[in-house]
Symmetry: C2
Subunit: 107 residues, 2 copies
């Protein structure tokens, strides 16, 4: 979604942005999470039904990979929008919050 010329307060960053603050990938992120949940439910059924451990591990690795990629999309989205505005507004708390989140996410 392109940035709109109107201004609005962002409940996420706590600052006023020069656009209606809608994460362009919010729907995509929700869809990715919904797919990851469905995939994880399938893995749970596999374990309940006693499927081969190797197969379970392969499917679990696929879910983990999907979650990793979703995290990357959230981070990129946040960098492109909230962070750009936070930096412009000199909002160092928002930047530090994200740095802490990245540190916890990357480890």
């Amino acid at each position: 979604m392109d940035r709109e010329p109107n201004h609005g307060h962002c409940h996420e960053c706590g600052i006023t942005h020069a656009h209606n603050h809608v994460h362009e990938n919010q729907k995509a992120v929700v869809n990715r999470l919904a797919r990851a949940i469905g995939h994880l439910e399938k893995v749970k059924r596999m374990v309940e039904e006693g499927h081969d451990c190797s197969d379970v591990l392969v499917q679990l690795a696929a879910v983990r990979s999907a979650i990793d990629n979703t995290g990357k999309v959230i981070l990129q989205d946040h960098m492109r929008h909230c962070m750009v505005d936070a930096v412009a507004a000199g909002d160092e708390d928002a930047i530090e919050d994200l740095c802490r989140a990245i540190e916890r996410y990357m480890k």
Copy 2:
């Protein structure tokens, strides 16, 4: 669960084990997966409700960590039971299957 003295065919490894082949941690694994699903559903709701990206990333990292730990439990369980029997029976296919799964899981 201690190994039982009776013999049974294992549908997972395809070989006959010197015990009723029940993964001792199957229930624990199912419970871990159920918790991870619930946690991921919470993360999805956070995104839908527009929560702070940093908070979403922290929760997503927690789910990933839970999935990693579940994979470890599955692997350890498999090593302690199926693999011990597969090695004893000279079932190299089962060993190779697991090695491939580990390779995909670790990357």
